[in-house]
């Protein structure tokens, strides 16, 4: 979330799409209800199903799963056409005025310029800004320099960007944006999404009404969850939302922003800590083979400022070397020296996509031989449970750390696998009993980036052990083996810094202090004269150094456990501004800042757009930025310097246009159909899908065609259950005892199905059996003149659980149905929107 849970109460308008917070984040959703009650805020719910969020909405529209970009693109078009945009914000805080290089082509045919069909990738060198100065009034033809041929080295942003503040230059970002979405007319939106034109216009009018007559006081927010991410174009859907919020000037403002609702208690922290193949803690890019040494690596990952010359850009990521070196010092301690590039060679360099779907594919193909799964039920999560089970059959060993018997640890006796077949499965499986949440202390980071410490209440049951102890003990034993026996490149294992008082039971408070970081030599701030002695905890990431005198496990968490104590344990309940900032409750990254980009809540002169929702402001007398929140800005940069508010971007401004392959599949979002779709892409039938999506080749990777599978299916969670966990909890099982499939009344009638009848849902990959939930909350849709049904099914049941073990339920995980295709940017598989057919059992 750019903002936070409580901040939703400050909004005037909510667009909830690709998410169902009433069911999946009920306690966060209270703030949406507060906004409705206290501010008369409006709520628009757009979803393939009428959900319990929709039940509280002022307007609900049923959309075909996977057509969100078409809808949002239509919204962009509507806002521009009707001048419901924040002009001043747009010019000064976004790259709307930047001029794009000649040679850049919009995807009228479904492809941007630079596509290489052989490799299935883009050369993004034309997706760049034009170098130059103020181009306002300059005609395109005689201003453009000769276009250089695509260079072999990765393209870089020009330091001095050409711009046109009148936004009239035909190649300025704003004009390109307008052109890109001119195709997304209400009629086209209706044909693609199934939302009738009048309803679309009603929603578009309502949502953009916050910018009626250019008024900047009101704010709207966009709230989403995995309904957007789980698509082969998921990242681009979110980009479209960001574009809308930048167009309307809603980013950085109380009650605004683009708010991802994370689905798990510490999914934010797990991402921040980089439990992901392509990153290191604090969103540092993981090294690749081309990073032959530390300097090369740092050069590749450290951006340089790129802006119009009269403007300023903080380009905060210019500090990247400090973050990276401090991380290496945290990991390898004394073994990380200036001379050995701070042990940079200890880090593995990946050369291909090692993301989730590839793990299973590579395991199936024999490349991955062993797996450790802690609190992660990979078989259930899918996509394509069958493929994952068959991949595990190929593995030599599997270690599962869990608190309940789960499907992954019992893949070898999944339904359908006979005792005979079990004898042929050679995988050794260890199932280790872990500790539940109440048995462990430690910090978790919520969706609003609040890092909060929790305390252990009870000891783990029986022989169960704390997860961190198990990982530590496995590692220490491996280390011992390498110490005794030697082996391949033992250095990183032997030299890993492990300075915890009890090495086999690392205290998480000590780990947290290491993550925060400390000084390794006396440090002095030249400006203020403040000194931090060697060994002291660092107060914030501004103190980090790239010379090895600081260590920090994750730079964005620097400041959470300082010399003043554990900031993440704070319990101050005061909120002086009334905006729900709660600055003294726990601690929020970065630097205890609650709303990101909050400089944008002020106009270019540094005065809040809405004087009633003052977050930060320029204090001319003190020559500094002040506020109720920590300003997300250089504190002493006066408005006259025109420093951009989006300090993490090298441009300093928000990106309507995402240049040079920031996203692999295009600088603007374009509507593509899900890989299984009832219709060809109506914008460009010859390029229906995202061209960058990798197709897998195992026998399980089958895709269905609409003639055989005509129904659009989506999966979701219910408020009463949590993933594959609460099927072990008798209370939650009582609330939702059995799996079901929600189907429209009309579809049920056509198939002679009555509510509670058992039905089969069949995709090209598997069959799911559950009872029919016949409801009016799903209606048939007209897609380009053709009637299309949508159905939905919750994901919660598997083959181990209370009712499952009693044999009451069909033992079919929902992800038997889903295809293994993933977003090229975020590598998230497409679980929302695939094709099925149904049959009565």
């Amino acid at each position: 979330m750019t903002n936070g849970w409580i901040d939703i109460k400050n909004t005037d308008m909510m667009l909830i799409m690709g998410g169902n917070p009433a069911e999946n984040h009920p306690c966060g959703f209270k703030w949406a209800m507060e906004a409705k009650r206290n501010r008369n805020a409006k709520l628009i719910s757009i979803d393939p199903r009428f959900t319990r969020t929709s039940a509280t909405a002022d307007l609900f529209l049923q959309i075909r799963a996977g057509t969100d970009i078409a809808f949002l693109g239509g919204l962009v078009r509507y806002a521009i056409e009707n001048n419901r945009i924040a002009k001043e914000y747009l010019i000064h805080y976004t790259n709307a005025a930047f001029i794009v290089k000649e040679g850049f082509k919009l995807p009228e045919d479904g492809l941007y310029s630079g596509f290489d069909s052989a490799s299935g990738t883009y050369d993004p060198s034309t997706w760049n800004y034009q170098e130059g100065g103020d181009w306002s009034g300059k005609a395109d033809t005689h201003a453009s320099p000769a276009h250089p041929a695509a260079s072999p080295s990765p393209p870089k942003l020009p330091p001095n960007v050409a711009y046109d503040l009148s936004l009239e230059h035909p190649r300025c970002v704003f004009q390109l944006l307008k052109q890109q979405y001119s195709r997304y007319t209400p009629e086209t939106v209706e044909r693609i999404t199934g939302i009738p034109k009048e309803q679309f216009l009603k929603a578009a009018d309502l949502f953009t009404s916050v910018r009626k007559d250019g008024d900047m006081k009101k704010v709207s927010t966009i709230i989403y969850a995995v309904g957007w991410t789980q698509h082969t174009f998921g990242t681009q859907i979110i980009r479209t939302a960001a574009i809308i919020q930048l167009l309307l000037g809603n980013v950085g403002r109380a009650g605004g922003g683009v708010n991802a609702l994370r689905g798990h208690s510490n999914i934010q922290g797990a991402t921040d800590m980089a439990g992901l193949f392509d990153s290191l803690p604090g969103y540092l890019k993981a090294p690749i083979p081309a990073d032959t040494d530390l300097a090369t690596y740092l050069k590749r990952i450290t951006p340089t400022a790129s802006k119009p010359s009269p403007w300023d850009s903080m380009n905060y990521y210019s500090n990247t070397p400090k973050f990276a070196v401090s991380l290496l010092k945290a990991m390898y301690g004394a073994a990380a020296t200036k001379e050995n590039g701070f042990a940079f060679d200890y880090l593995p360099k990946f050369d291909h996509d090692c993301s989730w779907t590839h793990i299973w594919d590579d395991m199936y193909n024999g490349r991955v031989k062993g797996m450790m799964a802690f609190g992660m039920n990979g078989v259930m999560i899918g996509p394509d449970t069958t493929k994952n089970i068959n991949a595990l059959k190929q593995a030599d060993w599997l270690v599962v750390g869990e608190i309940y018997p789960d499907e992954t640890s019992e893949f070898w006796r999944a339904p359908g696998i006979t005792a005979e077949e079990q004898k042929t499965i050679h995988t050794t499986v260890y199932r280790l009993p872990c500790a539940g949440f109440a048995e462990k202390d430690g910090s978790m980071t919520n969706s609003a980036r609040w890092v909060t410490w929790k305390y252990a209440a009870v000891p783990p049951p029986g022989e169960a052990r704390l997860d961190q102890d198990i990982v530590a003990q496995i590692f220490l034993r491996v280390q011992d083996l390498y110490r005794k026996e030697g082996g391949k490149f033992p250095d990183p294992i032997l030299n890993l810094s492990w300075a915890y008082a009890d090495s086999a039971h690392p205290a998480l408070s000590q780990v947290a202090m290491e993550v925060n970081g400390k000084a390794l030599a006396d440090l002095k701030d030249e400006k203020t004269g403040q000194v931090i002695k060697a060994g002291q905890q660092l107060p914030g990431f501004a103190w980090l150094k790239d010379d090895g005198t600081t260590m920090c496990g994750n730079w964005i968490y620097c400041g959470m456990w300082t010399e003043a104590g554990a900031q993440i344990q704070r319990r101050g309940t005061e909120d002086p501004s009334g905006l729900g900032v709660y600055p003294n409750w726990a601690w929020s990254w970065p630097a205890n800042r609650r709303v990101l980009y909050n400089r944008a809540s002020c106009n270019p002169e540094g005065r809040p757009w809405d004087p009633e929702r003052k977050q930060v402001w320029w204090n001319e007398a003190a020559r500094t930025w002040a506020g109720v929140d920590v300003p997300d800005f250089k504190p002493d940069s006066p408005p006259s310097d025109h420093m951009g508010p989006f300090i993490m971007n090298p441009e300093g401004v928000g990106r309507l246009f995402a240049p040079i392959g920031v996203l692999a599949d295009g600088p603007f979002p374009e509507h593509y159909e899900p890989f299984e779709s009832p219709t060809p892409n109506l914008l460009h039938p010859e390029q229906s899908n995202n061209p960058l999506v990798k197709k897998f080749q195992t026998p399980y990777d089958k895709l269905g065609k609409p003639d055989e599978f005509s129904i659009v299916c989506t999966t979701y969670r219910l408020t009463e259950q949590y993933h594959y966990w609460t099927k072990n909890n008798p209370m939650n099982v009582q609330l939702i005892p059995e799996p079901f499939v929600e189907i429209p009344v009309e579809l049920a009638e056509e198939n002679g199905i009555r509510g509670t009848d058992r039905i089969k849902v069949i995709s090209a990959r598997g069959t799911y059996i559950a009872k029919a939930f016949v409801t009016r909350r799903l209606k048939p849709m007209m897609i380009d003149g053709k009637k299309v049904y949508q159905i939905g099914l919750p994901i919660h049941q598997g083959f181990r659980g209370i009712t499952e073990d009693e044999g009451r339920d069909a033992r079919t995980p929902a992800n038997l149905l889903t295809p293994t295709v993933a977003d090229p940017n975020a590598h998230t598989p497409e679980s929302k929107g695939f094709l099925v057919r149904i049959e009565k059992v």
Binding site: W5, P26, C27, G28, S265, I267, Q268, G269, A270, G275, L276, F277, P289, T292, M331, P348, K349, W356, I359, D362, R367, V368, K369, G370, M371, M372, F374, M376, W397, P405, Q422, I425, T428, Y430, A438, K440, G442, S443, M444, S447, K454, A457, P459, A464, Q468, I474, R477, G487, P492, L508, V515, D575, G580, W585, T719, Y722, T726, N728, M731, E806
Partner: protein
């Protein structure tokens, strides 16, 4: 090992009926208001393990943290001080007590040997030693020090670690530290899906 649900109901029902046998009530006649069951219980502040709202929860356990008491959970409710949830909890958070007192919890390390059709118990020591051996064996067999172009890559291609999203930041950090040091590139997390 796993009490079936039906048995569980039976136990609960018998317990409930025992207090009133055929109408004879064993309770004192004029007890009008029930006692507050959490009156002197210990309160521990925790965070709900489910969604990312991160609601503060209060876990009530028996005893007052005295040394001679093994705490047992008796109740869970929302932390009213927590600014986000202000004491509220959803149906999942409200049922956390049953997550902690759950007879289905795993309490012993187990191993399934190749070709076996059932689990067998294993000691922690044996399990950890075997896992360490597997890890070293697979790492040594699949470790790539230099790629085809002679560039140092130092990666282990044969092992994957997948982590859940309800564990702590510190745990995740330890995983990154240890697994990257083993050279893992197949390091993924629920965060991806």
């Amino acid at each position: 090992m796993e009490t079936s649900r039906r048995e569980f109901f039976k136990i609960a029902a018998v317990g409930g009926a025992a207090a009133t046998v055929f109408g004879f009530d064993l309770k004192p006649a004029y007890a009008q208001l029930k006692e507050l069951k959490i009156a002197r219980a210990t309160e521990t502040r925790s965070t709900c393990p489910y969604c990312a709202v991160g609601c503060g929860v209060l876990i009530y356990t028996i005893g007052d943290r005295a040394k001679n008491v093994t705490p047992q959970v008796i109740h869970v409710e929302g932390d009213p001080d927590h600014p986000t949830n202000r004491g509220t909890l959803c149906p999942k958070g409200s049922s956390l007590e049953q997550d902690m007192l759950n007879p289905r919890r795993l309490t012993k390390p187990q191993v399934r040997r190749p070709g076996a059709t059932d689990w067998e118990d294993i000691s922690w020591n044996d399990a950890l030693n075997e896992i360490a051996h597997w890890t070293k064996k697979t790492r040594d067999a699949t470790f790539v020090e230099k790629d085809a172009n002679g560039r140092t890559v130092n990666r282990c291609e044969g092992i994957s670690f997948i982590g859940g999203c309800t564990d702590t930041n510190e745990f995740n950090y330890l995983v990154v530290k240890t697994m990257r040091s083993l050279g893992l590139v197949y390091l993924e997390n629920q965060a991806r899906v």
